[in-house]
Protein backbone atom coordinates (compact mmCIF):
# COMPACT_ATOMS: atom_id res chain seq x y z
CA UNK A 1 0.00 0.00 0.00
CA UNK A 2 2.90 2.37 0.68
CA UNK A 3 5.04 1.60 -2.36
CA UNK A 4 2.59 2.71 -5.06
CA UNK A 5 1.39 6.21 -5.78
CA UNK A 6 -1.86 5.71 -7.66
CA UNK A 7 -4.91 6.05 -5.38
CA UNK A 8 -6.62 3.23 -7.31
CA UNK A 9 -3.86 0.75 -6.53
CA UNK A 10 -3.85 1.93 -2.92
CA UNK A 11 -7.58 1.13 -2.68
CA UNK A 12 -6.99 -2.32 -4.22
CA UNK A 13 -4.17 -2.99 -1.73
CA UNK A 14 -6.45 -1.85 1.10
CA UNK A 15 -8.98 -4.47 0.00
CA UNK A 16 -6.28 -7.13 0.24
CA UNK A 17 -5.40 -6.03 3.77
CA UNK A 18 -9.04 -6.12 4.89
CA UNK A 19 -9.46 -9.55 3.31
CA UNK A 20 -6.40 -10.81 5.14
CA UNK A 21 -7.94 -9.76 8.44
CA UNK A 22 -11.23 -11.38 7.38
CA UNK A 23 -9.46 -14.67 6.67
CA UNK A 24 -7.81 -14.58 10.10
CA UNK A 25 -11.15 -13.85 11.79
CA UNK A 26 -12.89 -16.73 10.04
CA UNK A 27 -10.01 -19.14 10.65
CA UNK A 28 -10.01 -18.39 14.38
CA UNK A 29 -13.80 -18.57 14.49
CA UNK A 30 -13.48 -22.11 13.10
CA UNK A 31 -10.73 -22.95 15.58
CA UNK A 32 -12.81 -21.72 18.52
CA UNK A 33 -15.95 -23.39 17.22
CA UNK A 34 -18.03 -20.21 17.47
CA UNK A 35 -19.53 -18.11 14.68
CA UNK A 36 -18.89 -14.72 16.31
CA UNK A 37 -15.79 -14.19 14.16
CA UNK A 38 -17.89 -14.67 11.04
CA UNK A 39 -20.22 -11.89 12.22
CA UNK A 40 -17.20 -9.65 12.64
CA UNK A 41 -15.96 -10.60 9.16
CA UNK A 42 -19.31 -9.62 7.67
CA UNK A 43 -19.11 -6.25 9.45
CA UNK A 44 -15.59 -5.76 8.03
CA UNK A 45 -16.95 -6.52 4.56
CA UNK A 46 -19.65 -3.86 4.95
CA UNK A 47 -17.09 -1.31 6.11
CA UNK A 48 -14.85 -2.20 3.15
CA UNK A 49 -17.73 -1.67 0.73
CA UNK A 50 -18.49 1.73 2.28
CA UNK A 51 -14.83 2.72 2.09
CA UNK A 52 -14.65 1.74 -1.59
CA UNK A 53 -17.71 3.89 -2.36
CA UNK A 54 -16.18 6.97 -0.76
CA UNK A 55 -12.68 6.29 -2.15
CA UNK A 56 -13.87 5.80 -5.72
CA UNK A 57 -16.05 8.90 -5.37
CA UNK A 58 -12.98 10.88 -4.37
CA UNK A 59 -10.96 9.48 -7.29
CA UNK A 60 -13.68 10.35 -9.78
CA UNK A 61 -13.95 13.84 -8.27
CA UNK A 62 -10.18 14.27 -8.57
CA UNK A 63 -10.19 13.14 -12.19
CA UNK A 64 -13.11 15.45 -13.09
CA UNK A 65 -11.19 18.44 -11.80
CA UNK A 66 -8.20 17.28 -13.88
CA UNK A 67 -5.98 16.88 -10.84
CA UNK A 68 -3.03 14.47 -11.07
CA UNK A 69 -3.91 10.96 -9.82
CA UNK A 70 -0.82 10.78 -7.62
CA UNK A 71 -1.03 10.72 -3.83
CA UNK A 72 2.41 12.30 -3.43
CA UNK A 73 1.23 15.40 -5.28
CA UNK A 74 -2.05 15.71 -3.38
CA UNK A 75 -0.66 17.62 -0.42
CA UNK A 76 -3.37 20.15 0.40
CA UNK A 77 -6.96 19.72 1.49
CA UNK A 78 -8.10 22.97 -0.04
CA UNK A 79 -10.24 22.58 -3.15
Amino acid sequence: MLIRRSPLIILLALEIMLNGSNLALIAFARQQGTADGQIFALAVMAVAAAEVVVGLGLIVAMSRRKLPLDVDRMTTLRG
Partner: protein, 181 residues
Protein backbone atom coordinates in the same frame (compact mmCIF):
# COMPACT_ATOMS: atom_id res chain seq x y z
CA UNK B 1 -5.46 -40.55 5.34
CA UNK B 2 -8.52 -41.25 3.23
CA UNK B 3 -9.47 -39.81 -0.15
CA UNK B 4 -11.63 -37.01 1.27
CA UNK B 5 -8.79 -35.67 3.38
CA UNK B 6 -6.40 -35.70 0.42
CA UNK B 7 -8.99 -33.82 -1.65
CA UNK B 8 -9.41 -31.20 1.09
CA UNK B 9 -5.63 -30.80 1.27
CA UNK B 10 -5.33 -30.42 -2.50
CA UNK B 11 -8.11 -27.81 -2.63
CA UNK B 12 -6.62 -25.95 0.32
CA UNK B 13 -3.16 -25.97 -1.25
CA UNK B 14 -4.42 -24.69 -4.61
CA UNK B 15 -6.61 -21.98 -3.04
CA UNK B 16 -3.92 -20.78 -0.65
CA UNK B 17 -1.30 -20.47 -3.37
CA UNK B 18 -3.76 -18.85 -5.79
CA UNK B 19 -4.57 -16.39 -3.02
CA UNK B 20 -0.91 -15.52 -2.37
CA UNK B 21 0.00 -15.38 -6.06
CA UNK B 22 -2.90 -13.14 -7.05
CA UNK B 23 -2.22 -10.91 -4.04
CA UNK B 24 1.34 -10.37 -5.24
CA UNK B 25 0.06 -9.86 -8.78
CA UNK B 26 -2.32 -7.07 -7.67
CA UNK B 27 0.63 -5.04 -6.43
CA UNK B 28 2.95 -6.12 -9.24
CA UNK B 29 0.94 -5.18 -12.36
CA UNK B 30 1.41 -1.62 -13.52
CA UNK B 31 -1.90 -1.65 -15.43
CA UNK B 32 -4.70 -1.16 -12.86
CA UNK B 33 -7.12 -3.17 -15.01
CA UNK B 34 -4.97 -6.30 -14.59
CA UNK B 35 -4.59 -5.47 -10.90
CA UNK B 36 -8.37 -5.43 -10.49
CA UNK B 37 -8.71 -8.73 -12.38
CA UNK B 38 -6.05 -10.27 -10.13
CA UNK B 39 -7.98 -9.00 -7.11
CA UNK B 40 -11.10 -10.81 -8.39
CA UNK B 41 -9.03 -14.01 -8.53
CA UNK B 42 -7.81 -13.32 -5.01
CA UNK B 43 -11.38 -12.90 -3.74
CA UNK B 44 -12.52 -16.12 -5.43
CA UNK B 45 -9.61 -18.05 -3.87
CA UNK B 46 -10.50 -16.56 -0.48
CA UNK B 47 -14.12 -17.68 -0.94
CA UNK B 48 -12.86 -21.25 -1.48
CA UNK B 49 -10.82 -20.98 1.74
CA UNK B 50 -13.91 -19.72 3.60
CA UNK B 51 -15.85 -22.74 2.34
CA UNK B 52 -13.10 -25.03 3.67
CA UNK B 53 -13.44 -23.25 7.04
CA UNK B 54 -17.19 -24.08 6.96
CA UNK B 55 -18.22 -20.43 6.62
CA UNK B 56 -20.70 -20.96 3.81
CA UNK B 57 -22.66 -17.75 4.27
CA UNK B 58 -19.56 -15.55 4.39
CA UNK B 59 -18.21 -17.24 1.24
CA UNK B 60 -21.46 -16.55 -0.62
CA UNK B 61 -21.53 -12.95 0.64
CA UNK B 62 -17.89 -12.55 -0.39
CA UNK B 63 -18.61 -13.62 -3.96
CA UNK B 64 -21.80 -11.54 -4.22
CA UNK B 65 -20.61 -8.37 -2.49
CA UNK B 66 -16.99 -8.24 -3.56
CA UNK B 67 -16.71 -9.98 -6.91
CA UNK B 68 -20.23 -8.94 -7.89
CA UNK B 69 -20.58 -5.36 -6.70
CA UNK B 70 -17.33 -3.82 -5.49
CA UNK B 71 -15.12 -5.10 -8.28
CA UNK B 72 -17.64 -4.12 -10.96
CA UNK B 73 -17.53 -0.60 -9.53
CA UNK B 74 -13.72 -0.70 -9.57
CA UNK B 75 -13.67 -1.79 -13.21
CA UNK B 76 -16.17 0.94 -14.13
CA UNK B 77 -13.98 3.61 -12.56
CA UNK B 78 -10.82 2.21 -14.21
CA UNK B 79 -12.58 2.24 -17.58
CA UNK B 80 -13.86 5.77 -16.91
CA UNK B 81 -10.37 7.04 -16.10
CA UNK B 82 -8.89 5.29 -19.13
CA UNK B 83 -5.19 5.92 -19.64
CA UNK B 84 -5.04 8.29 -16.70
CA UNK B 85 -5.49 5.40 -14.33
CA UNK B 86 -2.12 3.94 -15.28
CA UNK B 87 0.16 3.83 -12.31
CA UNK B 88 3.86 3.54 -13.07
CA UNK B 89 6.21 2.53 -10.31
CA UNK B 90 7.48 5.44 -8.31
CA UNK B 91 11.06 4.85 -9.49
CA UNK B 92 14.01 3.59 -7.50
CA UNK B 93 13.61 2.41 -3.92
CA UNK B 94 12.96 5.42 -1.73
CA UNK B 95 13.18 5.34 2.05
CA UNK B 96 9.38 5.11 2.13
CA UNK B 97 9.30 1.91 0.06
CA UNK B 98 12.09 0.30 2.08
CA UNK B 99 10.34 1.22 5.32
CA UNK B 100 6.99 -0.08 4.01
CA UNK B 101 8.36 -3.46 2.96
CA UNK B 102 10.38 -3.94 6.15
CA UNK B 103 7.39 -2.92 8.33
CA UNK B 104 5.20 -5.46 6.50
CA UNK B 105 7.83 -8.15 7.06
CA UNK B 106 8.08 -7.24 10.74
CA UNK B 107 4.30 -7.49 11.18
CA UNK B 108 4.28 -10.89 9.44
CA UNK B 109 7.02 -12.21 11.75
CA UNK B 110 5.24 -10.78 14.78
CA UNK B 111 1.91 -12.40 13.89
CA UNK B 112 3.51 -15.79 13.19
CA UNK B 113 5.45 -15.70 16.48
CA UNK B 114 2.45 -14.54 18.53
CA UNK B 115 0.08 -17.15 17.06
CA UNK B 116 2.54 -20.02 17.38
CA UNK B 117 3.46 -19.09 20.96
CA UNK B 118 -0.14 -18.71 22.05
CA UNK B 119 -1.76 -21.62 20.24
CA UNK B 120 1.09 -23.68 18.80
CA UNK B 121 -0.10 -27.17 19.66
CA UNK B 122 -3.82 -26.52 19.40
CA UNK B 123 -3.84 -25.24 15.84
CA UNK B 124 -3.89 -28.68 14.24
CA UNK B 125 -6.96 -29.85 16.16
CA UNK B 126 -10.30 -28.29 15.37
CA UNK B 127 -13.46 -28.58 17.42
CA UNK B 128 -16.23 -30.59 15.77
CA UNK B 129 -19.03 -28.49 14.32
CA UNK B 130 -22.37 -29.55 12.93
CA UNK B 131 -23.85 -28.70 9.53
CA UNK B 132 -25.63 -25.78 11.23
CA UNK B 133 -22.30 -23.94 11.72
CA UNK B 134 -21.75 -20.91 9.50
CA UNK B 135 -25.00 -21.26 7.59
CA UNK B 136 -27.44 -18.40 6.97
CA UNK B 137 -29.65 -19.63 9.80
CA UNK B 138 -26.96 -19.32 12.45
CA UNK B 139 -25.55 -16.05 11.08
CA UNK B 140 -28.99 -14.46 10.96
CA UNK B 141 -29.82 -15.66 14.45
CA UNK B 142 -26.57 -14.25 15.87
CA UNK B 143 -26.98 -10.97 14.02
CA UNK B 144 -30.48 -10.41 15.34
CA UNK B 145 -29.82 -11.53 18.92
CA UNK B 146 -26.26 -11.17 20.26
CA UNK B 147 -24.93 -8.72 17.68
CA UNK B 148 -27.93 -6.51 17.05
CA UNK B 149 -25.94 -3.32 17.78
CA UNK B 150 -23.24 -4.26 15.24
CA UNK B 151 -25.98 -4.99 12.69
CA UNK B 152 -27.58 -1.57 13.19
CA UNK B 153 -24.23 0.25 13.15
CA UNK B 154 -23.34 -1.53 9.89
CA UNK B 155 -26.57 -0.34 8.31
CA UNK B 156 -25.89 3.25 9.44
CA UNK B 157 -22.33 3.08 8.05
CA UNK B 158 -23.64 1.90 4.68
CA UNK B 159 -26.30 4.64 4.65
CA UNK B 160 -23.70 7.32 5.42
CA UNK B 161 -21.42 5.96 2.68
CA UNK B 162 -24.25 6.12 0.14
CA UNK B 163 -25.05 9.72 1.12
CA UNK B 164 -21.34 10.60 0.99
CA UNK B 165 -20.99 9.11 -2.49
CA UNK B 166 -23.96 11.13 -3.76
CA UNK B 167 -22.64 14.35 -2.19
CA UNK B 168 -19.13 13.79 -3.61
CA UNK B 169 -20.58 13.27 -7.09
CA UNK B 170 -22.84 16.34 -6.94
CA UNK B 171 -20.10 18.53 -5.46
CA UNK B 172 -17.52 17.55 -8.07
CA UNK B 173 -20.05 18.30 -10.86
CA UNK B 174 -20.55 21.82 -9.45
CA UNK B 175 -16.79 22.38 -9.21
CA UNK B 176 -16.30 21.05 -12.73
CA UNK B 177 -18.79 23.62 -14.04
CA UNK B 178 -16.80 26.31 -12.24
CA UNK B 179 -13.50 25.06 -13.74
CA UNK B 180 -14.98 25.02 -17.24
CA UNK B 181 -16.32 28.57 -17.00
Amino acid sequence: MDVGNILVWAVWFAAAFACLGSGVAVVWFSNPFYSALALIGNLAALAVLYLLLSAEFVAAAQVLVYAGAVMVMFLFVIAYLGGRADAPWAGGPTWQQVAAVSAAGAILVEVVVAVSLKAGGRLSSEPPVDAFFGGPHQIGELFLTHHLLAFEITSIVLLIAAVGGVILGAHSRKLEARVDR
